[in-house]
């Protein structure tokens, strides 16, 4: 049997886990009603259990005390008995499918925000400020230490009474327990700081008290770092010593090990490695911990592929693999391995849309899977065939919206023709994948390509559809997903011309697609501050250009998420790209062989000039509406999407009623430029009832 190691059950404390795959703790940002695990939360985990996941550790950073604020990340609130019946629903839903479920519990100490909700005073061993959240805090007092230890016990009791299978104490990511461990943060001179034993004391007391509360038939695990990667932080050797120390108590049922600390922007990026990282970059750290402990070790960080997971387990590096984002991208990953449908797994591409939303306090969503966490709304991961009429569907445009629309319609059993003007599908994903370290984003397209082939969608590549070609197919439904073009005409002074030879500026697409040779001395003006600007800068610098990237926003790449801008910055600084903020591109003119870019300071109005040989402008996308207006009048619904039905995930009324001619819908950037997730979400919710 293939994947034998993956499917070998394992005992963790009192619990048998059916396989070696774990969805590790992540802050989902779904716990509503003051931190309760309500419907959305339950359905999200039920889907993973249904999909075969062995162990779900839910509730990343769920709080045990009211002075560890719950609201910022809608985390689960274990500080009240009110949670117990909600846990019962959650536990039943997961157990029903043979899965196990535990919860991560913590007090975040200083690692939070104080400026909202209860306006809590944050606590930390020595009152030292935390940079990522810019949070100040007080020095914790012994009475508070004892209160919080008690809060931990009560939280664990609630988890147990709610029927969960265990708790994981978070001593990772610089929460209160590991704040005590770290000499960098713990400067105390009383019995809670200083010597190794003293620094260990808080965690040990929590562990002892929790174990005493819950007894032996309930799992208590601990998540730790394998190395903080801080000059003055806990090293791998320190962590081995710590792990061995707690393991020796015999009270810990397993260790979860993560590489890197995370209290700076830069280390944070390691914790949830994006697509610029190699596979399992920190496995060796978890392996090192495994050497010194006697209980199972779990490791998650860039393990996304079944073969990779099998290899790691077979090699005995760790006992269980976390495949956390892998499950966000495809909660049915295990079932697909078992069903011999490995090619159908929607593999996480490391775009980190999920975590980057979480850091902003937004609900966690997957860039490429719009059904994830929307199970409760009736958005399916597995699309059923329609029982209604079989329709002829024409999709124009093979970007994210068009690919998803074609896939969903084909899964419904309709006869689908997809037109794409380019030679391959993918749309802007293909462009994005050209940048250094961003190639893996093309994984999104790769999956769609496999699915469209499997579903036998008629793909007309290199074919620009017009009114006549569409009419010829006698469609029942026409979906336009034609995207747009870089919007370089907005400011005439930029000197854009459709003829590249005459144009004074080029777009980031021109650069990334290789349609324009990279210059030697390049100015990039990026007012959007998303991926495309920094990607173009990285690309050009990689080709040897001297690059300055200028924005009128607060910093270049400002809209790139918290776990991704650091890896761009690492690359851009290394290549000596100059990043300048607060300047807008006022005008470009030619002077001899050179171009002169006139920049205007956002706050003073002062003008300055750069003499360069190439000016690249990123000003977003202008929707391509021509085909839409050509077809609109002839369509039975005049091109209108019923948004009430769309938002309620209900069938479009125009398809329910009898009528002449085709129904026409627009998806993605050809309506208004948004993002990949928006395009895919709209396509899924529109087409799922066709």
């Amino acid at each position: 049997m293939a994947f034998e190691a993956l499917f070998k059950p394992i005992q963790i404390g009192s619990q048998t886990i059916r396989n070696r795959v774990v969805s590790t703790a992540h802050a989902e940002v779904y716990a509503t009603d003051g931190g309760m695990t309500t419907d959305r939360y339950v359905k999200y985990y039920e889907e993973k259990a249904k999909g075969g996941c062995g162990l779900c550790i839910c509730g990343g950073s769920s709080i045990v005390s009211i002075d560890s604020p719950q609201g910022w990340w809608s985390s689960v609130n274990l500080s009240t008995d009110r949670i117990i019946p909600h846990f019962q629903n959650l536990a039943d839903a997961v157990h029903k499918h043979g899965g196990k479920i535990m919860i991560q519990i913590t007090h975040m100490g200083r690692r939070s925000r104080w400026d909202g909700y209860d306006w809590s005073t944050l606590l930390s061993p020595s009152g030292i400020r935390e940079p990522v959240h810019r949070s100040t805090c007080k020095t914790i007092e012994v009475e508070e230490i004892h209160r919080i230890i008690h809060d931990f016990t009560q939280a664990a009791r609630r988890a147990k009474e709610g029927g969960l299978d265990g708790v994981e104490l978070s001593a990772v990511h610089q929460h209160l327990i590991d704040q005590f461990w770290s000499p960098r943060v713990n400067k105390r001179t009383d019995e809670w700081g200083g010597t190794f034993e003293n620094r260990m004391r808080f965690g040990l007391e929590v562990l002892k008290a929790v174990r005493a509360e819950v007894g032996d038939d309930f799992v208590v695990g601990m998540r730790i770092t394998g190395d903080e990667f801080h000059p003055d932080g806990l090293t791998h050797e320190d962590m081995k010593q710590i792990a061995a120390y707690y393991d020796a108590t015999g009270m810990v049922d397993y260790f979860g090990v993560v590489g890197s600390g995370c209290d700076t922007h830069n280390t944070l990026a390691n914790v949830i490695p994006n697509m610029s990282f190699p596979p399992e970059p920190f496995l060796h750290l978890a392996s090192g911990i495994k050497e010194v402990v006697n209980v199972p070790v779990i490791h998650a960080q860039n393990i996304k592929d079944p073969n990779q997971a099998q290899r790691i387990l077979e090699g005995g590096y760790v006992d269980l693999v976390g495949m956390t984002r892998a499950h966000i991208a495809d909660p049915h990953i295990i079932a697909k391995i078992k069903n011999n449908q490995i090619d159908q797994i929607k593999q996480c591409v490391g775009a980190n849309y999920c975590i980057d939303r979480q850091y902003q306090g937004l609900d966690v969503l997957c860039i490429q899977n719009a059904a994830t966490s929307r199970e409760y709304m009736g958005l399916p991961h597995i699309i059923e065939k329609t029982e209604g009429p079989k329709r002829k569907v024409v999709v124009v445009g093979g970007g994210p919206a068009g690919m998803e629309a074609a896939r969903v319609c084909a899964e419904r059993g309709h006869d689908v023709t997809l037109f794409e003007a380019g030679e391959q599908i993918g749309g802007q994903i293909t462009i994005a994948s050209k940048a250094p370290q961003r190639d893996q984003i093309a994984g999104i397209t790769r999956w769609y390509q496999l699915e469209l082939n499997r579903l036998e969608v008629d793909q007309r590549l290199g074919t620009r559809a017009d009114e006549a070609t569409i009419q010829d197919l006698r469609p029942d439904v026409v979906i336009l997903a034609t995207g747009g073009r870089p919007f370089l005409t907005q400011v005439p002074e930029w000197g854009y011309d459709a003829d590249t030879d005459k144009s004074l500026v080029v777009s980031t697409w021109d650069i990334l697609e290789g349609r324009v040779e990279p210059g030697k001395n390049v100015l990039i003006f990026d007012t959007i501050c998303e991926f495309s600007g920094v990607s173009a800068a990285d690309y050009l610098a990689d080709k040897g250009a001297k690059v300055e990237i200028v924005t009128d926003d607060i910093k270049p790449g400002a809209a790139v998420g918290g776990t991704t801008f650091p890896t761009y910055y690492r690359s851009l600084y290394e290549k000596e790209v100059i990043m300048t903020s607060d300047l807008a591109l006022h005008k470009v003119y030619r002077e001899g062989d050179s171009l002169v870019a006139v920049l205007e300071n956002e706050y003073t109005g002062a003008l300055e000039e750069r003499v360069v040989d190439q000016v690249v402008v990123e000003n977003g996308v202008r929707p391509d509406e021509t085909l839409y207006y050509a077809l609109k009048e002839r369509s039975r619904n005049k091109g209108q999407t019923d948004i009430e039905a769309l938002y309620a995930i209900k069938p479009q009324p125009c398809l329910q009623e009898p009528g002449e001619g085709f129904a026409l819908f627009r998806l993605g950037d050809c309506t208004a430029p948004r993002n990949t997730h928006a395009a895919i979400y709209d396509a899924l919710r529109l087409c799922k009832d066709f």
Binding site: E4, F7, Y30, T38, G98, D363
Partner: protein, 673 residues
């Protein structure tokens, strides 16, 4: 003149036939002893012929009518000819009857001739091509010489001038006829089949196969155990003379009708096997000589005339060639299609396994993955070499009740080695959900279960089979259960039909074993299951060999599918004529190449029905058919179809004391504030 000549001819033909018969019997007697009730057997011949054999022959109506006319006519004509023309009892009435008998035989021979012009490829040519003419010679000759007896021609008509010439011609015709029919019968001509066939019916090695007039099932498909306790006895069959004498007799009965060849999946796939040729090779070996005088289809890819054998020479040479090449024996899937079709009740599979036993046990020569699989079975009790303690790994989340804990259950669920296969795990899960939906009291052996021994046995490793079987019997003897149910027809077959022989007084091994489709059909009849309406596409059903031909279960799976609301689109080859998936007998392990793959052919059968889905009831079939490249029909086990259709009533609320979680007002998108 004819009056004198005919008795001489008749009696010398009979004498020669008798001499031939003695010689033939001596050839058979070269085989190992096998005790049979002689008188009882002989008494059974008419019934075995008229009921059992006819049952098979009748599947081809044309040849059945032909045979009744020809053989019936001949037997009667021969007897009467001896009385009338041999002993000279010139009764007009007998004459008329003899005329009728020869007429019937003549009509029969015309039909034989028609079937052979031109002969279908499965029929042998050579001497067989002259048989219709010989039949005509005998019947016409006898007819003519009997005309005076019946009073149609005047007495003495053959004595007149012209009559003399006619008499001479007739005598020649009759010599020809008698030569073929009497002399040829025991001296190796086509008519040998009648002589050997009748005795084969009398002394068949599996008398249980035949009806005894009491009704009920008469099936004998389990392989016979090899005695392993005698250290000096040769294991399996090395030489033709190592077969039992009645096996040799059976081979000799072959009429070369090629029905076996026409049904053999390995032959159709172009693998070097043809069951008819194999039987003929045994005949060649038993008499000694080369196969050059074989006039049927060869083993695909192996020209005729290059092999020869001897009753006491090896059938398979260690090096070079002798009578049969090993790949011929290893091509067989043990599907029994040949045995099922054979009008002479020949047991090809027994013979093949006997010869495999020698190759495996004495030569240690099991090709391709064979040796590895057998080593695995010995070391780990399963063919894949998986950790024997990992049998329940796939079911860690199912909390399966263990026999070791329960000691007693209505159903002992035999899981089989499919536990190590992810595809089959789905089937098992489905079946378990069916059992649970019907509230069945069941338990599994878990890590105490071992491979049933099926593969080891078919690969000829009788020793490993018996070890596995005895250990399983020991384990089973510790528990109380009403029946064993399994999703695996191979386990089903050995547990039901092959363990019995290995049971002891303390640990009898006569279990009530059921295939899951049979059990589900019982649950359906007892209204224990409720189903949603069938919404899928069209469905066909593939009969697994070990369920159908081996055990006669054709109806239960079909009944279950019907209960689901499925109307089955039958394949042209279904039921007892189902074509093997290619997965039996260790064939996928020995993996002998051919021109195409058997499962591809089977999926082609499926495609012809236009079905979207093929329902199966065997892990091996599932694996083989799913291995066929797409596009092809979907493949689902019956248990999966049933599980998918189940309507499961969930108890309204299990725990009344449970607090109700307050329902929170919920916006469509929950964004943290």
């Amino acid at each position: 003149m004819l009056d004198t000549l005919l008795p001489i001819l008749l009696f010398s033909a009979l004498l020669l036939a008798a001499i031939g018969a003695v010689r033939r019997v001596r050839l058979w007697r070269q085989g190992r002893p096998s005790s049979v009730p002689v008188i009882k057997g002989l008494m059974q011949v008419p019934r075995r012929y008229l009921v059992d054999l006819h049952h098979v022959v009748e599947r081809d109506k044309y040849i059945s009518h032909t045979h009744v006319a020809t053989a019936g006519g001949f037997v009667l004509a021969a007897l009467l000819a001896i009385v009338v023309h041999g002993f000279g009892l010139q009764s007009a009435i007998l004459g008329w009857v003899l005329l009728a008998a020869t007429t019937s035989m003549f009509i029969g021979s015309l039909l034989v001739a028609k079937r052979r012009s031109p002969p279908p490829s499965r029929l042998s040519k050579g001497p067989w091509m002259r048989l219709p003419k010989s039949l005509m010679a005998f019947s016409l000759g006898m007819f003519a010489v009997t005309l005076p007896t019946a009073g149609i021609l005047p007495e003495g008509v053959f004595q007149s001038g012209l009559g003399w010439i006619a008499a001479l011609v007739l005598a020649a015709v009759i010599v020809w006829g008698l030569g073929e029919m009497f002399f040829g019968m025991t001296w190796g001509g086509p008519m040998k089949h009648a002589f050997a066939g009748a005795l084969h019916l009398a002394f068949h090695r599996r008398p249980e196969r035949f009806s005894d007039g009491t009704g009920g099932e008469h099936r004998s498909t389990g392989l016979k155990a090899l005695k392993l306790d005698d250290d000096n006895a040769k294991l399996g069959v090395e030489k033709p003379a190592d077969f039992t004498w009645n096996q040799l007799l059976g081979f000799d009965a072959c009429v070369q009708c090629g029905r076996c060849e026409a049904m053999c999946p390995a032959f159709a796939a172009g693998q070097p096997l043809n069951p008819k040729k194999l039987i003929q090779d045994m005949v060649v070996g038993m008499a000694g000589g080369s196969d050059a005088k074989y006039y049927g289809s060869p083993y695909p890819g192996k020209p005729v005339g290059e092999h020869e054998g001897h009753p006491h020479g090896p059938i398979v040479a260690r090096q070079g060639t002798s009578l049969v090449d090993p790949e011929t024996l290893w091509s067989c899937t043990t599907c029994r299609a040949c045995v099922e079709e054979c009008p002479m009740m020949i047991e090809h599979v027994d013979a093949i396994v006997d010869m495999r036993r020698f190759l495996t046990l004495e030569h240690g020569n099991t090709p391709n993955k064979g040796a590895e699989v057998l080593d695995n079975l010995i070391a780990t009790d399963n063919p894949g070499g998986f950790d024997p303690d990992s049998r329940l790994h796939w079911a860690a989340d199912l909390n399966l009740p263990l026999m070791a804990d329960k000691q007693e259950a209505d159903v002992l669920l035999w899981l089989g080695d499919g536990v190590f296969d992810m595809r089959n795990q789905r089937t098992l899960r489905a079946f378990i959900s069916v059992l649970r939906a019907a509230n069945v009291d069941f338990a599994v052996l878990g890590n105490e279960e071992r491979d049933s021994g099926d593969v080891a046995r078919r690969l000829g490793d009788e020793a490993t089979f018996q070890t596995l079987a005895r250990r399983n019997i020991q384990t089973l003897s510790r528990y109380r259960f009403a029946r064993i149910v399994t999703c695996d027809p191979h386990s089903f077959h050995v547990l039901k039909n092959e363990y019995g022989e290995l049971g002891t007084a303390q640990t009898p091994a006569d279990y009530h074993v059921q295939h899951h489709s049979t059990y589900i059909s019982e649950l359906v009849s007892a209204n224990k299951l409720t189903f949603k309406a069938w919404k899928g596409g069209s469905v066909t059903y593939h009969d697994p060999c070990y369920l159908g031909r081996y055990n006669g279960e054709y109806e239960a799976p079909r009944d279950v599918l019907k209960a689901l609301g499925i109307e089955i689109k039958e394949m042209a080859r279904s039921g007892y004529r189902s074509r093997c998936c290619g997965g039996g007998g260790g064939a996928p392990i020995t993996d002998i190449p051919g021109k195409q793959r058997i499962p591809d052919m089977r999926m082609e059968d499926v495609r012809e029905t236009g079905a979207d889905l093929v329902a199966v009831g065997c892990p091996q079939c599932t694996a083989m058919l799913e291995g066929v490249v797409e596009p092809r029909a979907g493949i689902k086990d019956i248990a999966e179809l049933v599980a998918d259709a189940l309507i499961i009533e969930t108890p309204a609320d299990q725990s009344p004391q449970r607090q109700q979680a307050p329902a929170a007002p919920r916006p469509a998108l929950e964004v943290a504030s």
